[in-house]
Assembly symmetry: C2
Homo-oligomer: 172 residues x 2
Amino acid sequence: DLFHRVLFFPDKVVACKAHFRGRDGCKNVNCHFSHSDTSLSELLKYITNAKRSLDVCVFSICCHELADVLVESHERGVIVRVVTDGEQTGATGSQIGKFRSKGIQVRHDNSSFLMHHKYVIIDGEILINGSFNWTRSAVTGNHENVVITNNTELLKPFEEEFENLWELYEPS
Amino acid sequence: DLFHRVLFFPDKVVACKAHFRGRDGCKNVNCHFSHSDTSLSELLKYITNAKRSLDVCVFSICCHELADVLVESHERGVIVRVVTDGEQTGATGSQIGKFRSKGIQVRHDNSSFLMHHKYVIIDGEILINGSFNWTRSAVTGNHENVVITNNTELLKPFEEEFENLWELYEPS
Ligand SMILES: [Zn+2]
Ligand SMILES: [Zn+2]
């Protein structure tokens, strides 16, 4: 079935990692994070549910919560590929070094222009795209959007773009 | 009828303004701009075809071609409203001063966080959204996307977000 969803940021509260990703939820009675759905928790759910592949094409990746979900997906056998902006890989808080040390394949541009996309394709079936970089300030500070859809008219061009960039940025 | 389109940037060539916006096309036999469709020329066509309203919610607006189309739309009676990021209004090349001098209504945030959306709603009927800021480097240098759709499931939330931000940023 076709579906479309739109999530807006900023979240007013920070989603509790233990609550949304642990098997039994969060047991901390003094937890000061949110146990209600937020835009971040919804985003984490989609990515956590990946079964086969995660094609991530995001300009800036600094948010631990989102990066950790990619690492865990990689560790349970999901094929994770990351395309990002070259200059952003050296930015404070960048999670790219962690990806590489965990064996996740990362490729990036080598130009002064920006690899400015912010999208991820889940299992070749769901596209998440918008203004949203994977940074903490994008989650709790900025006004941002993501559109989530399984419409192949939208999905297919983004898949092709991913494969094009993946080849274009192949290390020589 | 429902439609979805995806445009990617960068354009390899710069669209000829005279060709795509003039009544009779470009007559310059030595013109070094493109008379074939580009992602920019497609984007300009959608915006130029606005009949009633343009709700523009874009982080950074520096591209003359896109800004000029907003001014011309305003001058022929289209209601143009612009929401943008406060800090970006003072950036080199920002077109916001021109909008104000022409009588286009502009509102912006006053925080250190970003008003980071990059979308426009045309006549309340077409949504154009993606990673694309309205800058020259986004047109001819960066890797960027825009999704164009008239699906109301997507359009409506973005309209509500626009109205929310428009009120939020009302000058006191
Ligand atoms: Zn908790
Ligand atoms: Zn020309």
